[in-house]
Amino acid sequence: MNGYIKICYLTLLVACLSLGSFNDFCSGESDLDSVLNEAEAKLQTAYAAVLQAEKSGGNVTFLVIKLSVAASLMADAHNAYRIGRYEDAYRYAVSCCDMLDGVVEEAEIIRAEAIQTYNKNMYRAIAESSIALALLVLCSVFGWRFFKKWYFRRLLKMRPEVGESR
């Protein structure tokens, strides 16, 4: 009887431990999935922000380098995940997230600066063109008047004079 209780106790213990490690394994895997998804989403958001900054005319060279390193870490995470090296996959995904910290904010600052510079350049160009056009209109009107006077004076001088006959 005593032996029977011992066997039951051991079976129950093994079952509990197995269940525990299975739960740990499942939660570990879902943790990894969530970290991978988070890194993926963060990379996509950062890329979209950098693309916007670039399209606005900002200098995003440094951010693109940072993004490329993050993308490479993301690929490493997927490669590790594919062959079952889950710890490495987790480490790479976390490194990817760390690498992307502050990228969106930096991209937004660069974008705002680029838009500001664009607007400044646009207003300056409009002002320059307006002044140049106004000067051109004035000069052309006065120039035309001056030219017309000069032309007809020259033409009148060329007219043959008729002498009176006695």
Binding site: V64, L67, A71, A75, N121
Partner: protein, 195 residues
């Protein structure tokens, strides 16, 4: 030249100077049409030339190729290169239908490159096999992937042939996902000598 000729010439000169005066504004508002947008992809042999590609695979040997991508899409692009391995009966990407190969990727590279820039990487690979008709695993850049890929004897070319190929995918920011960019490169490998 009569007066009307002078008048026409004067008006023409005024228009020219007017356009010159408007140049700063025109340069901001008028966008010239961009050129053709595309991405290049290539594969080079171990000497970084388009020759000497690995073909006859030997037991325990390491092979090298270079794969490169060039961006001419007009802005920085996020690319993925998926490495796939197939035997002669499995599907390649379909360029006409613009669909990728249905085979799962065994390895991947991801990178973001600015417009007009190039990405290139050296890829080393080797094989572990039971015999020429069954490749057990493929090691790419020190990462071993179990493939268990069987092949049939090709009686026409007298050998067991496999293909290692690289698909180019591009990230579509509007759809927030990668899509096949309709480009792939690959090399044929003759495994007959390992049996």
């Amino acid at each position: 030249m009569n007066f009307n000729d002078f008048k026409a010439m004067y008006i023409f000169l005024c228009i020219c100077f007017g356009l010159a005066a408007l140049t700063p504004v025109l340069s901001i508002f008028v966008r010239l049409p961009a050129g053709e947008r595309f991405s290049e992809m290539w594969i080079l042999g171990p000497k970084h030339l388009a020759e000497g590609y690995p073909f006859n695979v030997l037991r325990g040997s390491n092979y090298t190729v270079y794969v490169g991508v060039s961006n001419h899409m007009g802005s920085s692009m996020y690319y993925a290169v998926y490495v796939k391995f197939r035997n002669q009966t499995e599907q390649l990407p379909n360029i006409t239908r613009q669909t990728p190969s249905p085979l799962p990727a065994i390895f991947e590279y991801r990178f973001i490159i600015p417009d007009g820039e190039t990405w290139e990487t050296k890829i080393s690979f080797s094989f572990d096999f039971k015999n020429a008709s069954l490749i057990r695993s493929l090691t790419i850049d020190n990462t071993t992937v179990i493939v268990n890929k069987p092949a049939r004897w090709d009686s026409e070319n007298k050998g067991y042939y496999y293909q290692l190929f690289f698909e180019l995918w591009i990230y579509d920011a509007d759809e927030a996902s990668f899509r096949f960019h309709n480009r792939f490169v690959g090399i044929w490998l003759n495994m007959s000598s390992i049996s």
